[in-house]
């Protein structure tokens, strides 16, 4: 499945884009998504262990299966306020 992943803050700067297009197998997990994302944008490797993934506006665990047609975003720890 084709998936668009929105990137923010330092993840966006390192990848050089605000949106990554990934091709994932059906049944792929959040962890698989991160692996694919870092393979596509190697500059994200240093951030990998801290990257968070949101699926449909909620934080998702590494083992969560990414549903088709979901809204996905990936970003480092937040620092609002």
């Amino acid at each position: 499945m084709n998936l668009r992943v929105r990137l923010f803050a330092r993840a966006r700067d390192l990848a050089g884009t605000s949106e990554a297009e990934l091709d994932l197998d059906t049944g792929a997990t959040v962890n698989d998504l991160l692996t694919e994302l870092v393979a596509r944008y190697p500059d994200l490797e240093g951030l990998r262990s801290t990257l968070m993934v949101a699926v449909n506006n909620n934080y998702a665990r590494a083992e969560t299966i990414v549903p088709e047609n979901s809204e996905v975003a990936c970003f480092p720890p937040v620092s609002g306020g």
Partner: protein
């Protein structure tokens, strides 16, 4: 809507007024403002970025949780995004409740959890011309991203 992102100055007087009620005996307002010094490092300005849809959803979740935990009458969270100068207000949290302890506790909960859950990021612009995204717990804090 009682949670907002804005690119404009935060009108904290209007926000405070919006939570006032004859049922309230207490109104608490928290303002986060742009600080010049973090340890010895000197900031000249901050840039805030947000994932707007999720930030709004998470702030709404916080407001709903606060209303379950405390007898909140009204609560508002407004966060600014974009470029902010020293002393500018970056976030306002206002809460009203019948008694002060609940208003203080609910207000503290809202700002503490905002800093953990709501996808907003700040970039420090240091006086030496370097800039650096703030990502708590990330090793990148040790190797700042330099952008001139």
């Amino acid at each position: 809507m009682n949670v907002r992102l804005t690119e404009n100055e935060i009108d904290y007087h209007a926000i405070t007024e919006s939570v006032r009620s004859p049922r309230a005996g207490a109104v608490v307002l928290f303002l986060g403002t742009v600080r010049e010094f973090t340890a010895e490092k000197q900031t000249t300005a901050l840039d805030y970025d947000a994932y707007p849809e999720m930030a709004i959803a998470k702030m709404q979740e916080l407001v709903a949780e606060a209303a379950q935990k405390w007898p909140v009458i009204e609560s508002v969270i407004e966060h600014r995004v974009g470029h902010l100068e020293l002393g500018d207000v970056c976030v306002a949290v206002a809460v009203s409740s019948p008694h002060r302890l609940d208003a203080f506790e609910a207000g503290q909960f809202l700002i503490d959890e905002l800093k953990i859950r709501v996808p907003i990021w700040k970039k420090e612009n240091w006086i030496d011309g370097e800039s650096e995204w703030v990502h708590p717990g990330s090793e990148t804090q040790l190797s700042p991203n330099t952008e001139h």
